[in-house]
Amino acid sequence: MDLPCGTFSENYAQDMGILRTKSQWITLIAFLVLLFACPLFFSDRMLTILTIIGITIISVLGLSILNGYCGQISIGHAGFMAVGAYASGVLCAKLGWSFWAALPCAALAAGAVGLIFGLPSLKIKGFYLVMATIAAQFIIVWLILQLRSITGGADGLAVPRPSIGNFVFRSKSSYFYLVMIITCLGTFLAQNIIRTRAGRAFVAIRDNDLAAEVMGINLWAHKLLAFFIGCVYAGVAGSLLVHYVAYATLDQFPFMNSVWYLGMLIVGGMGNTTGAILGVVSLKLLDELVIIVGPMLSSFGAPPQAAASLGLIMRGLVIIIFLIFEPRGLVHRWERVKAYFRLWPFAYRSNERG
């Protein structure tokens, strides 16, 4: 992390600190205060968007650990979300568990399924792994359809809202608080997971798995651990999503979402927790823009399907443009802007971080 001049680490705790300067603390606290004040001045529609963004951030953080840090590409993340969603949905709706007990179980279920589909990663990588995870997505969806007596199949499953005692998280603002607390905890955890011994092993595996193995990293354990952690995040996100909508259907977890999560990572910046969050926020806002602009097209004489195709084309083009012009994502661009203003008005180039 580039720090301002004159910031010295005098002991180990300071060296490891995520937040080092007063301004960082102030920004964080101001951000949290603003975030939790949102329900006071935002409409329900805005709160829905923010809640969905929060849930997506949880899911993409998992993908960021799995893909951005450990280098194991997964295009089945929406499938793993579906596992968590249906696990917690079935536990709550059919067995009458409370949400708070079902959520960890859903996370573990998604993690376990992730472990199963992570098994091929020991032998294969690159596009072979992409194929295996795409297979995961479709097989999971097919299995959920087959288990119609438990999951409701194509009809879906009505899921109760979470509650504490007599208080039910029914209003938009109460669910917003629930999701945001879990999102903040998840972000904090993700940022710390990658600073542990296992996290550093993930980075080593991403950069060169053979070299990592030679240095004594247990590839088997760490690749599976990465799959487990990534899918636990997906499971939590899936569970939160169905309890928010109060209904679980497979339409909530299409293959396109798996692809789109990877797109968010690319736009935000691979291998960076901030990048994952930036990517989710910017692409979700782009989606909202398309929803607003789409219907306007027909008033300019565009055919009725233009609105639907606009969304697809925009999504594809954004990813293409980022891959060609800014493969390191928004977070890299942001670092460059910060470096520029730190040195302003001098034109010295700061040494770029890799």
Binding site: A132, A135, R148, P303, L310, I313, I319
Partner: protein, 295 residues
Amino acid sequence: MTFLLQLVISGFANGMVYALVAIGLVIILKCSEAFNIAQGHFVMIGGYLGYTYLVEFGFPIWASLLLAIATAVIMGLVIERLTLRPLVGQPILAVIMMTIALSVVLEGLATLIWGGEYKSYHGVLPAVTLQLGELSVPSETTIMIIVSIIAVAVLMLLYRYTKSGLAMRATADDIQVVQSVGIRVTTVYALSWVIASVVGVIGGILLGGISGVMVSLSAVGIKAFAVVLLGGANSLKGAIVAGIILGVLENVSAGYLDPYLPAGNLATVFPFVVMLFVLVVRPYGLFGQVRIERI
């Protein structure tokens, strides 16, 4: 018995088309080590092109095929130049994401141009019936078998006996040597994308004749992935054999097992089961080269 034979024959016809589409994947994979996720979307575009030329313009099948191939050549060239060329030398994830993004854009364009609706041109193709003993093969299946066999044969001949084929095989072998003897690698890349797009479009026209065209026709690409994995990622022969195996197995197993499954539809997951099995048991496929990796 007749039921089984019927399933085998229609499975064989499907399998030949899978093989054809998979050859496009294998050629790109061999030349530029890029995995083209958008291959299935070439098939979908092919189906819609077939609908446009056969039904909307009313051309005969041979003219439609030629026009569709011409369109596919342009599409392949444009896609390679605009999106894949800037990524030469980038990590594999970037290339995979690029082809995924490409597939999304193609889907969007198909929705924009053809409305993303179900279009059918059943019965527009000429009637050719084939009588084998007591079972009669429908004309679409016959055309599918004939055209795909011709296309596969032409491709194999191109690849084996022409100078561009030689350049492609050489590029697959060693890029640096190829560059040092003065072959333009970018031309070879462009050629491989053109071939992929042409075989995809031909496959799309053939499949569209049977099942009609809609955006979900792009799922054929996923079957082609399974074919490539089963046959071995760098083997054309493997793609053909595996295509036929997968087509027949899928049809026969779906024909016999679907009645016993609560939600049926085994054919949609069958390729994935094959894929996972192959990846775990024999990652280099039936005919693929075993690669030894060095640091």
